[in-house]
Subunit: 395 residues, 2 copies
Amino acid sequence: MNSASPAPGSQSSLRERNLLRVLDTVTSLGSLTQVEIAEQTGLSAATVSNMVRDLHAAGVVSLTPGTRNGRRAVHVALATPDGVIGAMVFGDRDVRVAVAASPERILSSTRMPLPAEHAADEGLNRAAILIADLLEQLGHEPSELLAVGVGIPAPIDSVSGQVGSSGILPGWRGVDIEVAAGDALRTPTQVDNTANLAAIGELNAGALQGVQDAIHVKMSYGVGAGLIIDGSLYRGSAGTAGEIGHVTIDDRGAVCRCGNRGCLDTVVGSAAILDALRPTHGGVTLKDVISRALAGDTACQRVLGDAGDALGSALSAVVNLLNPQMISVGGQMARVGELLLGPARRTIERCALPSAGQSVTIVPGVLGDEADVIGALHLAHEMRETAQRAGLALA
Amino acid sequence: MNSASPAPGSQSSLRERNLLRVLDTVTSLGSLTQVEIAEQTGLSAATVSNMVRDLHAAGVVSLTPGTRNGRRAVHVALATPDGVIGAMVFGDRDVRVAVAASPERILSSTRMPLPAEHAADEGLNRAAILIADLLEQLGHEPSELLAVGVGIPAPIDSVSGQVGSSGILPGWRGVDIEVAAGDALRTPTQVDNTANLAAIGELNAGALQGVQDAIHVKMSYGVGAGLIIDGSLYRGSAGTAGEIGHVTIDDRGAVCRCGNRGCLDTVVGSAAILDALRPTHGGVTLKDVISRALAGDTACQRVLGDAGDALGSALSAVVNLLNPQMISVGGQMARVGELLLGPARRTIERCALPSAGQSVTIVPGVLGDEADVIGALHLAHEMRETAQRAGLALA
């Protein structure tokens, strides 16, 4: 303990605890009036008023005039002198948004389902409204949102700015996503596919911290990967590197939405998993399959184990080609842990070149389903920093 | 023409032509006595003596005491003030060596067959003797050989320094190649696999000059690749990246020498090509198959086309994973050009993700079979430059 800390029970330690209670409440609940803070903390209105005054003087919270129950009231929020950043991450069936002070400090986040065949502008506009709502709840002006990282569950061609395969996300065909997202949000955006974002998340704050040569595989409804080469994300010449989901596993296999046959995605994607279980388990969801497998359902375990085996086949090619030091596996399906990773690991041992197979470690991602959102916030954070440096250079 | 040049036919232009004749002779034939230079050029002994004196005064040639026909004679050679560099590149059945002033200026090179199952020290010692012979013919002391790039047709584990697969090059098992090569040559060496060396060659002096994201595939007796990422060779975490030959094409296919089944190498390697043609063509060699295919033999064309198709399957995975801008194909088999590249290109168009497939160009390598030797010289050149910089820093 720091020797300058006040003794427990002293006046100053009580004040410190009260300050922290107010700060924690504002951090976890967003923008609040002083009355709401008093209700949440159980502190008196006078104490809250003192604490808020001191926190504001120290620049830790911001005060914004507003209303509560029709009466004027000051809203107290965490001060974000550098503005806030956002994430907007589309899945096959939903969109998740977050507003954050920094990639490590998410202020608020939410999720909304989306129809599978939604149009790009519909998805983007709905998500932009969600972000606007979060900003308002947090007591931030729209202009304080300085940059947004946008995730799309499909390869994005960096030349055209469009989805790189006409069969994936049909409602987004022909749309320049960065332009459309910038129009919907009225703030600078950067777009990447969700597997790349998840890799950026795990690299900066998760399983791949400090690793120079790695792959992050995201297994949810579909499967994708982000490649870490010499310590940073590698996007390839046109931005679509890492498309492990469309590596051929069986060239006479099922037709894939990318137009090829027997891609890894047709074997381990959620559609294949659910099809395999339909005769015995009926219309279950991927979430059901995962929880049943964890509860001991042997058929669900077998199907996920077979998916791990197929993943291992594709990863053997990746291991031979790229000789990575570490592979992390995240996304919804990775929640089953060793049920998926064990078979993948055994197949890599069996199929990869011995030296390459022995030099790679397969681990679960540590950021769970949020890896892509955290990665999107890292993209936004970098954009903000670049803009601020450019601003300083101009000043 | 430079206005300071002497008029044609003048005394000084005659002297310049004689100087160039002497210089060209020494450049193309190596170390010679003045008598030999006179014989080769048709110039008088007195003229040769004058020219050699001037070239030596200008630092262009070096003079080394020696003998000719049992009598003392001075050997004239190109001056290499920075010493010379070497290449020693092992194939499945031979070794090629070269001595060069720079990667662009090979002074002399030669080739020697080796039994397929030769022991590492036997191969290295024989190759070291070949290099010593070249140095002597060129009039260089062994100490002038400052660095040698060594190529091995197998993955090399950068941690152990050994061949990364026990079934490939069995006679080299357990040998730390860089140490053994350094012992045999008594000069610093750097070892890499021949596909990586060929990629370095094509990147610096061939088809991939100026390309940031590319793959070079070497197809000879076996198949391997070197990955160019952000403008330089990528070796992976343990030095074995690029092993396209052991990407699985058919997981119930033939057993591969790496211990896996149905690797690309079992489908397009020379053993598979020759096996396919044995019933109709008997015991032909790879060289025969290539020349017959070029002469119109439809069976040879079909077998090489099928190899191109299988190469295209493996490259589709590479294209999806790495999204390269260019793929160059070199090695002996690439001599058939479009007979191999056409089917590879069509398979990539059919199987790769559209955006990644459309953004890649497939071209033949331009350095032919010498790409790996030129790459080895580039490795040696870099070693020499690094050592010279270190020497300057110490001085």
